[in-house]
């Protein structure tokens, strides 16, 4: 199958691409960031998904399937540009898919869609609406992109669409939100709170995304692997030191004194858990994780020991 991956330069997307290549698929990547050292078999186009050049790739190469991974989180990009990438980019992907006869689309979203708050249940199911958007407006564009992708299920009935809400990923690449948060010696916490964090190994996440494609999944699915762990346990297992600070002090210190950058709204995400029920995904795809929660943290800790010299495994 000819598979196009917008956002292929991301580390998780690279893993997905390698996996598809290994399974015998033809892989085309679209990403202005480029992928130095990519395998020759992967056809790369260094263009923005919202630009004409990306549409040309759809028109000329006619992919049968698309895995949309060109979204960014609030930590990576500032608000206006993020809005354009997440919503404008997603819209462009769906329009091109409809226009050029793509049969299958996997939208890789995030489990933070559900939001974190004191009254939110553990183990969110796919039927639940997003919550707490008011206290974390930086999430709005990702939530909007998720909902826009999901409405393709009725708007574009010929396109088999899967919307995946993937929990945090962690592993030796040291890439993504949770790894960024755990990178330093001290892991900031809100004093008196210790939420569960739901995460899976990055290889398991890549496997799950590839499975969604292989099984021609249609619908909205949470994707998770092993059970969640409290943030303090993750920090200690990773050889870090939890640093509980009063909330007001913490909001002043974030991004300073060696602590990770975090928006004020994101503080709720280190006070309250976001845990998802991924039973439907497992039932539909037969997915089973290979790395348990402790091994997953260990693979990150081995690659990024606390002394500071990262021994990161080079991305594939």
């Amino acid at each position: 199958m000819r598979v196009l991956i917008p956002g292929i330069a991301g580390l998780l997307a690279r893993k997905v691409a390698m996996r598809l290549l290994h399974d015998g698929h033809e892989v085309i990547g679209v990403d202005p960031r480029g992928w130095p050292g990519a395998p020759n078999e992967i056809e790369l186009h260094a263009v923005d998904i919202r630009k004409r050049g990306a549409e040309d790739v759809f028109r000329k190469r006619r992919p049968q399937a698309v895995i949309h991974m060109a979204t960014v989180s609030a930590l990576q990009v500032s608000s206006e540009e993020r809005y354009r990438i997440n919503l404008g980019g997603t819209r462009a992907v769906f329009e091109h898919c409809a226009e050029y006869g793509v049969e299958e689309l996997v939208f890789v979203g995030r489990h933070t869609y559900y939001g974190a708050g004191p009254d939110a249940p553990l183990y969110h199911t796919e039927a639940e609406p997003p919550q707490e958007l008011g206290s974390y407006p930086e999430l709005a564009d990702l939530v909007a992109a998720d909902l826009y992708a999901a409405n393709a299920l009725w708007r574009l009935p010929k396109l088999s669409t899967a919307v995946l809400r993937v929990c945090y990923t962690l592993g030796p690449s040291g890439h993504a939100t949770l790894a960024d948060f755990l990178r330093g010696r001290f892991v900031p916490m809100v004093l008196g709170f210790d939420p569960l964090f739901h995460f899976m190994h990055e290889d398991d996440a890549a496997e799950a995304i590839a499975l969604a494609l292989a099984k021609k999944l249609r619908g909205v699915y949470n994707v998770a692997g092993p059970q969640p762990l409290p943030l303090s346990v993750i920090a200690r297992e990773a050889g870090r030191t939890p640093l509980p600070l009063p909330e007001t002090l913490l909001s002043l210190l974030l991004g300073r004194a060696g602590l990770p950058r975090l928006s004020r709204g994101a503080l709720a995400h280190i006070k309250y858990p976001i845990v998802v029920d991924a039973a439907s995904f497992r039932a539909e795809t037969g997915f089973a994780h290979r790395f348990d929660e402790l091994t997953t943290v260990q693979t990150f800790a081995d690659a990024f020991p606390v002394a500071g010299q990262a021994r990161a495994v080079p991305p594939p």
Partner: protein, 265 residues
């Protein structure tokens, strides 16, 4: 009970703990051991709690403990949890449905969660039962804890959600009557406005001002399981009939407890 015995009992809880002693809900062996050390002292040494009929609680599988509120703070819930832990073989963890304000309070949020006491949401209740857990429900809600001293033997209205949930999940209801909480913490009034300042529904006031309990012997009387047949989508009148049946069982267990106290004097 020595601390090591408590840790051994925690080990014997039939919950799916991982290698670090944490279950899929974040319930932690370390926190449970610490909490049961304190609860054990209160249960055995301070309140000399007597549990009657604990054999009615199934040793495993889903079940719902349903009883009366007694005392202005969550003493009743804590002692029922202690009773299931110390009196059952193997021990079981009863999981209560906590008031929403607890999850907003620093430290209380962590300790409640790690000990399996989650916010009282229908989603939590259903999921725990479907996972074969032991759920602890006070259908009187916060109105039950607000009972003043003269009302301590009364029951306020029961909500109906617990019966619909029991029907939907085919869960046996084990009624219980809690005796003595109203005497341990005799509430003379409740301060609602001041409570709200602290993020709580109210703060009970006793003759000695603070809601600190007196060392009065407490009792929990469990009754035979009640299993209702249905789907959970029955008409209100049908559900209300079941609710009244549970309520009358709870009232009878309270009366039985009072009677045994009177005859013991």
């Amino acid at each position: 009970m020595p601390g090591d015995d408590i840790a051994a009992r925690v080990d014997r809880l039939e919950l799916p703990f991982d290698a670090r002693g944490i279950d899929p809900y974040g319930v932690s062996k370390w926190h449970l051991t610490a909490a049961f050390r304190v609860l054990g002292l209160l249960y055995k040494r301070y309140f000399h709690v007597r549990s009657v009929g604990v054999e009615h609680i199934p040793p495993r599988g889903r079940a719902m403990l349903v009883g009366n509120h007694s005392g202005g703070i969550a003493l009743d819930g804590a002692m029922v949890i202690a009773s299931c832990f110390f009196e059952m073989e193997p021990p079981r963890l009863a999981q209560g449905m906590a008031e929403k304000f607890i999850n907003r309070l620093p430290f209380a949020s962590v300790w409640a969660s790690r000990c399996g006491q989650f916010t009282g949401l229908p989603e939590h209740a259903q999921r725990l039962l479907e996972d074969g857990r032991l759920l602890l429900v006070f259908p009187e809600g916060a109105r039950g804890t607000a009972k003043l001293w003269p009302e301590r033997w009364s029951l306020v209205d029961f909500g109906t959600g617990f019966v619909r949930l029991a029907l939907r999940t085919q869960t046996p209801i084990i009624p219980f009557g809690f005796i003595g909480g109203g005497d341990a913490i005799p509430t003379i009034t409740n301060l609602y406005r001041i409570g709200k300042l602290f993020g709580m529904p109210f703060i009970p006031v006793t003759p000695w001002i603070a809601p600190l309990p007196r060392p009065i012997p407490l009792e929990v009387h469990y009754g035979a399981p009640l299993l209702f047949q249905g789907t959970g989508s029955e008409d209100d009148e049908v559900v209300q009939r079941y609710v009244e049946e549970v309520k009358s069982n709870v009232a009878a267990l309270i009366e039985k407890g009072r009677e045994s106290r009177r005859s013991a004097r």
